[in-house]
């Protein structure tokens, strides 16, 4: 008796082939189902990616423009509080805020009570005086004249103009009062409101006022940190890769190093932050919040990446190159520095760029070494306190103002653009110099 006839129950009168055929339908349906499930898993993952990027873009793109309000400002020396002085020092300390307030009261003469006046002044950002200061510093002759300025609007106005908050009057919970909304509509009807490219976002440091907060300080901090990271981890990583791949004898010590490197690659980054806090800050007394320390910690984090990529690139260089060079009388080190290393360099650089991209996005270890401080100034050296881009994202994400949601997304867009550029560079490098032996 064969196995197929055994399977047929006595009551079943069909032949084995018929039964197999009826199974086949089910099996093919199962096959199609399985394939569809697999495809849907890919689709779900892609959908999440799309949703993530869509949310960020949708929230963040509007932050690249900023609302400005047109105002005729009378630059009288009395209001500026500088009298007859025209020195640079007097101009720097003059009361530009008062001048702006006065211009606003004139623009909206209906505002008489103190509360109303405060609301009128609240339409303009508290940092709008920077524009006046700059204009007068460039041209002190303007004092005493009336000039038209486009001034940065307050973030509440910005949010209303961009449509994130309601402009319907008489609603509970509006950030702008009904009167303010009325004035805003009046301004808009006169063509006194416009949206321009948000240059503040790319030129200033952090601020408590969303409309004045910029990314430049954290971009500079990130650049300093990454330079330190590169300067430390690239030579060390390449040297380690060369030693392990070209020189190291096969023994326990080498094994220990290899196990260590693999383990370090798997240690959570926050633990590296604890190391930085205990060793760099407390033991060695390095400054808190400084890109120097951040860069060192990030260097330790991306060292394993560079070593592993470097070893793979060195391994890909065929032994015949080494043998040919050695045959011509090159010493072992000359073989490596003059022949193997140049051939492996594109691969090593690709790995290094990917490691750097990873370091650029790293946040948690930097929180441990105090890079979360609120820092307004643009850092001038790696020893100055500073934030970095991802930490800026974290800080802004924690801020309650509605306008910071938009700016956080914009910061993420900038961060992602940097990351995409680095990854693209790595891919191009690999494509251009990839060699098959």
């Amino acid at each position: 008796m064969t196995e197929s006839t055994q399977l047929i129950r006595s009551s079943d009168t069909r032949t084995a082939a018929q039964i197999a055929a009826s199974h086949l339908k089910r099996r093919h349906a199962a096959e199609r189902r399985f394939k569809a499930i697999g495809l849907s898993a890919v689709v779900v993952a892609m959908t999440f990616l799309g949703l993530l990027l869509f949310t960020i873009l949708g929230n963040g793109l509007s932050a690249f423009t900023q609302t400005y309000v047109k105002l005729d400002v009378t630059l009288s020396p009395e209001l500026l509080g500088i009298g007859e002085q025209r020195t640079a020092e007097a101009l720097a300390t003059a009361d530009y805020g008062g001048v702006i307030k006065d211009a606003m009261y004139k623009r909206f003469p209906a505002a008489q009570s103190r509360a109303e006046k405060r609301e009128v002044a609240g339409l303009i950002s508290s940092g709008a005086d920077m524009a006046l200061r700059k204009a007068l510093a460039a041209n002190p002759e303007l004092i005493g004249t009336t000039q038209t300025f486009w001034l940065v609007a307050d973030d509440t106005v910005d949010m209303a103009i961009k449509g994130y908050t309601s402009r319907q009057t008489g609603q509970e919970g509006n950030r702008l009062s009904d009167k303010q909304l009325g004035w805003l509509a009046e301004l808009e009807a006169d063509g006194g409101v416009t949206r321009r490219f948000n240059s503040i976002l790319f030129s200033s440091g952090d601020s408590r006022e969303p409309e004045l907060a910029g990314l430049w300080g954290s971009v500079v901090g990130s650049v300093f940190s990454l330079l330190i990271t590169l300067a430390v981890s690239f030579p060390l990583g390449v040297a380690t890769a060369i030693y392990l791949e070209e020189f190291a004898p096969k023994n326990k010590w080498t094994d220990l190093i290899e196990v260590n490197i693999n383990n370090l690659a798997a240690v959570p980054s926050v633990v590296f932050g604890l190391l930085g806090l205990a060793v760099f800050l407390n033991f060695l007394g390095m400054p808190r919040s400084a890109p120097l320390v951040g860069g060192l910690v990030l260097a330790l984090i991306c060292l394993p990446t560079i070593i592993i990529a470097g070893r793979a690139a060195l391994k890909a260089v065929p032994p015949s190159i080494r043998e040919a060079a050695a045959g011509l009388g090159a010493s072992k080190l000359q073989v490596v520095t003059d022949h193997v290393l140049p051939l492996a360099m594109p691969g090593i650089l690709t790995g290094t760029i990917l490691g750097m991209a990873h370091a650029l996005g790293e946040t948690a270890p930097l929180l441990m070494i105090g890079m979360v401080a609120f820092i307004v100034d643009i850092p001038a050296s790696p020893l100055d306190p500073s934030a970095v881009l991802p930490v800026q994202v974290y800080l802004w994400a924690d801020s309650p103002e509605r306008a910071f949601v938009e700016r956080t997304s914009a910061a993420i867009i900038v961060l992602l653009i940097f990351l995409a550029a680095m990854n693209l560079g790595a891919i191009l490098l690999r494509k251009k110099f990839e060699r098959r032996w």
Binding site: R27, A30, E31, F34, I37, G38, L39, A41, V42, A45, M46, F48, L49, L52, T55, I56, L236, Y243, L244, L256, I257, N260, N262, N263, L264, A266, V267, P268, S269, V270, V271, F272, L274, L275, A278, V279, N282, L300, P304, L333, A357, H358, L360, G361, T363, A364, L367, M368, P390, V391, V393, Y394, A397, D398, T408, S409, L415, L416, L419, N423
Partner: protein, 458 residues
């Protein structure tokens, strides 16, 4: 700035040394270049190394010991009213002195200002003497190395041995990093366990690290039972794995077995983008979009969902670790030899039957390894949970409630001003030690499984 000038001067001396050595070697060789044992540039390298290494070593040593040396000297010569302060206040005062001297902060009292002047002058004197020593060493090294150049000098061999010492030293950095991690975690944890018993930390079920400022405050002692943190971590990591393992595994199967090469070449990099996005972005996404969505959905279904629910954090973390599961699984599935598949086809199995009954069992060790690696990634992940999970330590298995995790607490305990003798900050190191141990163990097990049960087909 001064340091920058010193470094630049030393670098200039070093490159000058290279030129001197090279020219000297050429001069020694005369018309017969072949009489030199090594190429002229190796003589140049040797002089440059002799010139640079001792000087840079002195500068590096000074950089490392400057803070402690200054501390000892300044503390020893403090004005009388500062010298009699208690240890803690003395440390604060010293900090202020340093800030005044180095960063130009305003001094709060005259004696602080005086100490700061002392600090600044000491620092300046020390720097100048170190700079003098370094430059002198560089010049002396240059001169000595130049004088030793002769035709038979084995300059290349010497340079190569110095380089190989550097290579070996570089490769030990990894070991020192590990030692540094272990020592810093263990030391601070030991200090923590002197204040809080190990058993309370490991088995206590109540976590409230706030220490009272006054003695009579309610809950003045703080409690450090870490069980709710471990439970919260496991809950969120469990949700993440429940999302990532099916999605990642199915995606890997589809990509390696079904997808056309063109589809694969587009979608595979896109999937890996998920792992390349910074975690702080996921955290923002979870807190801004996913958590409110889940809360509103729960409200519609009549469930009460915390706005920082474990589900939101776990879900987003799951998306993040999909590529960790999928790309490793993809590799091991692709590594299963075709002969196995063809054998199954020959017996009449459909493609999905082959995958389920032949390919997956053969690839199982690698798949389990990839899942364990993803799990260790999920446990150590920080920013998503810091931004989207709660701070209150609830001991619950309900994914709709807010829980807190080990990494969240590490960050919360250490961000902001801290003093290093309170159990509150030291607890972070104990948590870090636990985290380090768990992730290391998971990785070790994953590697063992992969290596031990890997089928060898050739």
């Amino acid at each position: 700035m001064q340091l920058f000038i010193l470094t630049a001067a030393l670098l200039a001396l070093i490159s000058f040394g290279y030129g001197v050595g090279r020219r000297r070697a050429l001069a020694v060789a005369g018309p017969n270049l072949r009489s030199l044992h090594s190429l002229p540039r190796y003589h140049g390298y040797l002089v440059a190394l002799w010139c640079g290494l001792p000087a840079l070593a002195v500068v590096a040593a000074w950089l490392a010991f400057e803070p402690s040396l200054l501390h000892a000297l300044v503390i020893g010569a403090l004005p009388a009213d500062l010298a009699q302060l208690s240890d803690e206040r003395l440390a604060l005062a010293y900090n202020e002195v340093r800030n005044v001297a180095r960063y130009g902060h305003p001094a709060s009292s005259d004696s602080i200002a005086e100490a700061a002047r002392h600090y600044a002058s000491l620092r300046q004197t020390m720097f100048l003497s170190v700079a003098a020593i370094a430059v002198a060493l560089a010049v002396a090294g240059l001169a000595a190395a130049r004088a030793r150049i002769h035709a038979g000098l084995r300059a290349r061999n010497r340079v190569e041995s110095i380089v190989s010492i550097f290579l070996i030293a570089a490769s030990t950095v990894a070991i020192f990093t590990t030692i540094g991690i272990v020592l810093s975690l263990v030391f601070e944890s030991l200090r923590f366990f002197q204040m809080v018993p190990v058993t309370e930390f490991l088995f206590g079920t109540s976590w409230s690290p706030q220490m009272a400022i006054r003695e009579d405050q309610v809950g003045s002692s703080g409690s450090f039972g870490a069980v709710p943190l471990f439970a919260g971590t496991m809950l969120i990591a469990g949700i993440a794995l429940a999302v990532a393992v099916p999605l990642g595994l199915l995606a890997a199967i589809y990509m390696s077995e079904y997808a056309a090469p063109k589809f694969r070449s587009v979608v595979k990099p896109l999937l890996e983008v998920l792992a390349g996005i910074p975690t702080v972005v996921y955290g923002f996404f979870a807190a801004l979009t996913v958590a409110p969505f889940i809360r509103d959905l729960g409200a519609k279904l009549g469930l009460s969902v915390a706005s920082e629910s474990a589900l939101a954090a776990g879900l987003v973390m799951g998306i993040m670790i999909i590529p960790f599961v999928s790309s490793l699984s993809d590799d091991v599935i692709s590594a299963v030899p075709h002969s196995l598949r063809e054998g199954a086809y020959g017996l009449g199995a459909t493609k999905s039957e082959t995958i389920k009954q032949v390919v997956l069992p053969a690839a199982l060790p690698g798949i389990v390894g990839s899942i364990l690696l993803a799990a260790s990634r999920a446990i150590g992940e920080t920013m998503i949970v810091v931004m989207a999970a709660g701070l209150a330590a609830n001991l619950t298995a309900n994914p709709l409630e807010a829980v807190t995790t080990v990494t969240t607490q590490i960050v919360t305990l250490l961000v902001g001003d801290q003093e290093f003798d309170s159990p509150k900050t030291l607890a972070a190191f104990a948590l870090g030690l636990a985290l380090f141990g768990i992730t290391l163990a998971l990785n070790g097990i994953a590697l063992r499984i992969v290596n031990k049960y890997r089928e060898k087909y050739d």
